[in-house]
Amino acid sequence: MRRAAIAGATVVLVLGFLLVVRPFVAEQRPTPASIPSPASVTGLDTVPLQKGHPVCFTDVVAEAHAERFSFRVSTPFGPTPELRVTIRGGGYDYTATIPPGLQDGQAAEAAIPAPLRDIPVEVCIRSRGEPLIGLYAANDRARSRSTAVIDGEDTNKSVWFSFEEPRWHAITERVGLTIDRMTVFRPGYVTRGLLWVLAALFVFGVPVAIVWAYVRALREDGPRAAPPLDVNRRRSRWRRFVD
């Protein structure tokens, strides 16, 4: 009985790990480095961007893995002019140029050198041409702390803005980093060590403990549950397996 239980669990767990868990955790996915201001939840809104009136926002953290940034443009009057994006703060200062020609709804993206560490920065987006364009922004509950300021005036909208890693990653490549990130905005006792222990116990300890509990229960039931066998009665192979 006990061996049958262990066999049943092992077969399902091994097949499950091979066919479900492994493909899931090994799949390559786009990896954000940080998303200071996410997209809206309930509707679309924009912040106007004109030549000579840059759109700036502060309290943005450029994460150490950030090697690209991205935001989305609205261009009702034709393709975008050249855009310049300055990221400055904590000893980091870089200006990226986005060539003209983006269409309505397209993402404006550019590569940046990765910061040496996570640093709070100010981002300023400038237009180098005449046509008025818009930057998609959140004006609902997705509005972040980094609201856009134009000519010193707060628009009370946050431009959809994210930092990304240059290549895609699997979940397994990012376990250590993910655990680090889980310690942020947590009580002091939620340390990396505690989370590593919990992760190991969850993935390896839980399956073992559950199967052990069942096998132990079978053992505790054993003497009581065993049906009396009639040795004079001929039993089929199936019956012998079942009993």
């Binding site: 066999a7 399902v12 996915r29 996410p38 939840v41 972040s144 942020v184 839980v206 403990a209 559950i210």
Partner: protein, 481 residues
Amino acid sequence: MRRLRRIPLPLLAVLGVVLVEGLAWAFAVPALQGADESAHFSYVQKLADAHVMPWRNPDLGYLEPAYPPSVSTEQRVAWTWAGLEPLRGNRAARPLWTHEDERIWARENAKLTPDHRTDGAGSRVVDNPPLYYLTAVVPYEIAGGTFFDRLYALRVYNVALLLVAVALTWLLAGELFGRRRELQTLAAAAVALHPVLLDVATRVTPDVLLLTLASAALYLMTLVVRRGPSWRRVAGLLAVVAAACLTQGRGLGLVAPALFAVGLGWWRARGAPRPGVLGRVPAVVPWAVGALVVLVAFAAYATRFDFGELAGFWSYLWQFYLPPLPGMTDPIGVSWDVENVYLNRFFGTFVQFEVDFPPDLLRAIRVAVFAGLALLAVSAWRHRRALWARRDVVAVLLVAFVLSVLALHAAAFRSLLVNPADPVITGRYLLMLIPLYGIGVAAAVAAFPGRVRALASGGLLGALVLLQLSAFGLVVERFYA
């Protein structure tokens, strides 16, 4: 230590599993991402910091939990400066996950005064009875510290409540299965590995105290009918049901089953009626009268005492589970049926419903549920003698299930009469009956004989572990990948 040794080892192992899973879920999910979690936290904060019971705001009425003035300034600062509100239910967002983000929040948080913890206006959640929130004040006060210290202390408190609920499932299974460790372990493990239970129970919510008290009520009901209605058992049962009602309105669904259990226990303990007028009344009559009273009470509640709506209620109830009969009109409200509640929401939606199992997996769960129901029928037939010997416990658990679900439907229909856009009833609400799910799983597996059962049980436990890991993996992916 000696007492710990008296706890059966299989139960200890299952409780260890719950502890690991519970803490993992509690710490992995960022703050305030559970359903109405910010509103529930606000309620506790009002009790603990302002030392007042929150009531409906006389000037503002009932506020939506997402409306900023409903919560304290301290919480609003966390919403904005820790990025919690943009994250809620927003798949495009990720948590602010650097220690620099923490420093920016701490800078703003340091500007607050003690008054900023007490200025929340409250939301419609203040309509909830206060018991959970009053008990949660204890871990809130012990934790002290920052907003996050206190919030995660409440989540850990809920993990402790979940441990009690799983232990009660074990005890309940023991009453039904005659202390067969194998089936007790299966029942407790099925509950311990239920993915939506872990997701819901590890947020700040009164639902976890409700399901713990409901588990205790179910266990006490079986004791009352199995061992007789001693005043201690009856008082204990009534106290637990009262506590459930003081925790969440859905606890009212336990009142009728508890009365049924007390009545049945009393009737069985009393033996054959003495000669006289009452002795000549067939036994079925008082039960039929009781059932009629309960049904009329449900109907009156569901229809808001407008019995003209009764046909609509029965039509809604019928079409929730079955195809419409000829002549039936469309039920009130949005299209929302048994599959949404008992399958999709009970097994497969997480956090703010933005994470769910893929359709293929839900289809597989659906097949497993139907197979389980068929096995349950086979098992009932196979163990009919044992079931007959425990018919009182079976009857009580069946009545508890039916009446509790009927109460949920009555409350849902009552609400639909006012707001047809919100179906109200959801899989989360069934969690108060989670011990019955565990018992159902164990009973279904008992359909198999000997080694086949062991093989099937091992396979089932492996599958439940995978389901749990899948749910956790999807939630981690949603926030951190």
